[in-house]
Subunit: 201 residues, 2 copies
């Protein structure tokens, strides 16, 4: 006897495939929704379905709902389109944007696999970026900032992307390293403290 009704099992399967949701959490979520009742279920279902209305920017691959093909940042005249920050994830873009310290534009490459091998769609995105730089920026961007995590994986990824983009930028930089603001020297790890010393100023 299988105890779970078919629709419940099916949803648990689908939820389990989402990142960082395991079968246990998926099961709990499904039961929670059933307990919340029909209106909650309908509201979440339509909320998910509404994602179909969201478009992806043809330049930076961030989300938008503009009538044209570009997102708010890529169409903005207040942003320097010649300075391009490469990020892996949309959420990285959101964090960087919150600083209000960057007036260039972005390029979302997608999370790079541990092997450093790019997926086909990631290669397409890079090709797209190169074409944009050639066509719109006269062969070179002013600066490309590789905003990858300050980890050895991030360093590795950066080394790969530098090779790809070197011919397309006057300058390639990465985010600065040092003590996190509000942190304490006593508790900083060796690498961070070393970076803070090297880049003192």
């Amino acid at each position: 006897m299988t105890l779970l009704p078919e629709p419940l099992k099916r949803l648990v399967d689908r939820l389990s495939k989402l990142p960082s949701i395991g079968p246990r959490q998926a099961t709990r979520l499904a039961f929670h929704l059933i307990g919340r009742g029909e209106n909650s279920i309908r509201s979440l279902a339509s909320g998910v379905d509404d994602l179909r209305k969201i478009k992806i920017c043809e330049h930076c691959f961030f989300v938008h709902q503009n009538s044209g093909p570009l997102c708010d940042i890529c169409v903005s005249k207040n942003r320097n389109q010649k300075v391009i920050m490469v990020v892996e994830k949309e959420t990285d873009l959101l964090s960087l944007e919150k600083t209000n310290k960057f007036s260039g534009r972005y390029f979302i490459l997608g999370t790079i696999h541990k092997t450093g091998i790019l997926e086909e769609w990631q290669k397409l995105r890079l090709t797209n970026l190169k074409k944009f730089i050639q066509k719109e920026l006269g062969s070179e961007a002013e600066e490309i900032i590789l905003a990858f995590n300050p980890t050895s994986q991030g360093d590795y990824n950066a080394s790969l992307i530098v090779k790809e983009l070197k011919p397309f930028a006057k300058k390639i930089s990465r985010l600065g390293r040092g003590l996190p603001v509000g942190g304490e020297i006593e508790f900083a790890d060796d690498d961070t403290l070393g970076a803070a010393l090297e880049r003192r100023g």
Copy 2:
């Protein structure tokens, strides 16, 4: 400038309200879905919506899809309806049922708040159970098993529910305590080891 399109923000809000999903994970999930494309979005949305087809058993409050009001366990003639296992969560029922060692029926009370104060709907469920016992079992169940967690919170909950159900059962029991099967004595905590000694046999 708000960066997130309205449908995305709305879904993140709704997802964040689900248990053990914070705003960060909600945002990541939403972006992941957008990246997976229209078919994935539609399939998850319809999967959620299909939960509306699921019914709740009038006796035990577990899920089912039968044409009548009762779940498979509550209608089964192979189950002893006079032995009732009280659980907090549907997932507890699933774990217990997987042991294949219980041939009675269940009663899902819902997770009890830390204060031990029952919600209105939980009181209704208890009233429902008492009525069932009076009407169908001739005033007393053979046994009521309180399958609450072996924690101090679980002990407290059990003490509250015992008071409620004492008049309605010949016997009230709880799940046995002792060494978890496959565990090692060396690593068992004091309480577990104490329980194992007391209940040796």
